[in-house]
Symmetry: C2
């Protein structure tokens, strides 16, 4: 790995800055050529850097930012009236080329708007999309987008999502010609809205997309598609439903195991094998949603991420730097759109 | 229980008519004052009635229907060009008052359109909604609607869903003043589309709705709301995501338990308690989605239902007859809409 430099917005997330500092420490140990810049308010960060023995780390530096954007702040208000926050600072570092990427666990809506303002989108992309590689049933990842950045989408936007998701999956997962499906309420051609039907036509026409048809939400992670495309409302609902059901199951399993001394004993004996089996489904393991379609790398960590989860988000940023995702997406989109121009002139 | 009469469309579902016949037999045993009419093609049904010893049952009769609507048939084609199917027949029986309700596991889109045509909607309802009471984390049910009958919905439609879902939950679950939430991508007031924001205002203004705000999909079954309202696309995605994740977890649990002789033994010992704990989450237990907003009772059984699941759908129909759901919904909607008229004239 070359020498990469990533800026961390340490002020986001539900549990305070110590999460990003612990994640930073862990990731620096794992990647000896990685350097990190921690951005946050001096009063909060300096004591923690001391506490975690990071003050004199030769690959970690600190930059002060005056303001903090809270999870409750209205993104449009932030865009218009707030400046000099930790989020503004990390995005400006990416925009100015001072760092290779940034990671934030802050307010998603604000990150979207500020990232678009600071970094600008790739030509032909109107708004960035939020995408994550979620663990599927075959031990790999299914890339789902959009996860909530674009609540309503037209067919061209869904088409662009398919292109961008394909590039990300192909590079990061090393899957040649990733299969792409559209999320719908049924598999038959007559199902879904006019927007979805038109998207299906566009995707079917392109040689750059390995389009395999509609997919229903119960098969999202059945490995029928490497990339699943939908609008941000449905994508968010699908992702959170999976997380919610996962939590319900783990709670029920816990209740069953803790219902008596006898089951506790059996559960204790089974526990290591259960942990191993469920490990790849744990939300920590797929933390790190990427904002793609921008002229720079921005990774969003889950607000409720712990240090393990936050360190996965940093690793996601490392992979995107390695594969130069913004450039790859830009080049692919250019090729795809010129193909569409040719098709429309035939 | 009074003497109820329910018509079963025996030709729907993925596994053939024997499912509905086995479910009929089971339900007749459980409810001694219930009578059923089996509707289907003579050639298929009569041999099965013989096989299951149902030919001379004094509370079961058979009605022949010439045609069958398949799961693949285009609903609009069916509406325009098909007649005399088993689905047509059961719906006509409800419309003519010959039976108290009907149950079908057939093509959902066709059932929607034919039911609307045959039964008509309640005043002020433009299209029926599909709703199901799903097992929640507190041992009760959360009513989610719409599950796919109305892909795009305006604020007035979502408001009507809230009223209809409240009535169903209040009556069937015996929950006084059920809490109602709107599914959204965040809990804050500024989240979501204009349609969702306007729906929130309408719901907040009504004294007939116990509106508690937005809910995210990971908390759908956390008991924060008795009724969750959303458009049919998102509702379908949420429901199927839950089902999909449930399946993934059960598969992983199975893999973990079957990974060695030792874990198999432990799993076998834990199995009864696990079965008990997970029983209420099993899809069989919440089969039976209701088409509400019609002037009659129509229950949709899942296409992949087995006989246990199908019998739950028949029981759902029984509860709706007991509580006269169509009348109750009609009366409540009238009251709510006259309240809204008053509010708009204040």
């Amino acid at each position: 790995m070359r020498n990469y430099l990533i800026a961390l917005d340490a002020m986001g997330g539900d549990f305070g800055p110590h999460i990003s500092l612990l994640a930073a420490k862990k990731t620096l140990q794992k990647y000896p050529t990685l350097s990190l810049i921690i951005v946050g308010t001096r009063e909060k960060i300096i004591p923690l850097l001391k506490q975690y023995d990071l003050l004199d780390h030769d690959r970690l530096s600190f930059v002060h930012a005056e303001n903090v954007i809270s999870m409750e702040d209205n993104p449009i208000y932030v865009l218009r009236h707030v400046s000099n926050s930790s989020m503004h600072t990390v995005l400006k570092m990416v925009a100015d080329g001072d760092v290779d990427a940034c990671v934030s666990a802050g307010n998603t809506g604000a990150l979207m708007l500020l990232a678009k303002q600071a970094l600008k989108t790739i030509p032909s992309v109107s708004r960035p999309a939020l995408v994550s590689g979620l663990p599927n049933n075959c031990g790999g990842h299914t890339y789902l987008l959009d996860l909530g950045a674009n609540l309503q989408c037209d067919s061209d936007t869904l088409f662009n999502f398919a292109v961008m998701g394909s590039v990300l999956c192909e590079k990061v997962e090393q899957v040649p010609k990733p299969t792409v499906a559209l999320l719908n309420v049924g598999k038959e051609n007559n199902k879904g809205s006019d927007i979805i039907k038109r998207s299906a036509t566009l995707l079917g026409e392109s040689n750059y997309i390995n389009y395999v048809g509609f997919i229903e939400a119960d098969e999202l992670f059945s490995c029928k598609a490497d990339v699943v495309v939908t609008d941000g409302f449905s994508g968010n609902v699908a992702l959170k439903s999976y997380e919610g059901m996962g939590r319900v199951f783990l709670q029920q399993l816990d209740k069953a195991v803790n219902s008596s001394f006898y089951t506790k004993l059996l559960g204790k004996l089974l526990s290591p094998i259960l942990k191993k089996q469920f490990k790849h489904l744990h939300p920590d393991m797929y933390n790190g949603a990427s904002l793609i379609g921008l002229r720079g790398i921005v990774v969003k960590s889950h607000g409720s991420a712990n240090e393990i989860a936050f360190s996965y988000a940093i690793e996601q940023a490392i992979k995107e730097i390695q594969w130069q995702i913004p450039n790859s997406i830009s080049n692919r989109l250019e090729a795809v759109l010129s193909e569409r121009d040719c098709l429309s002139h035939e």
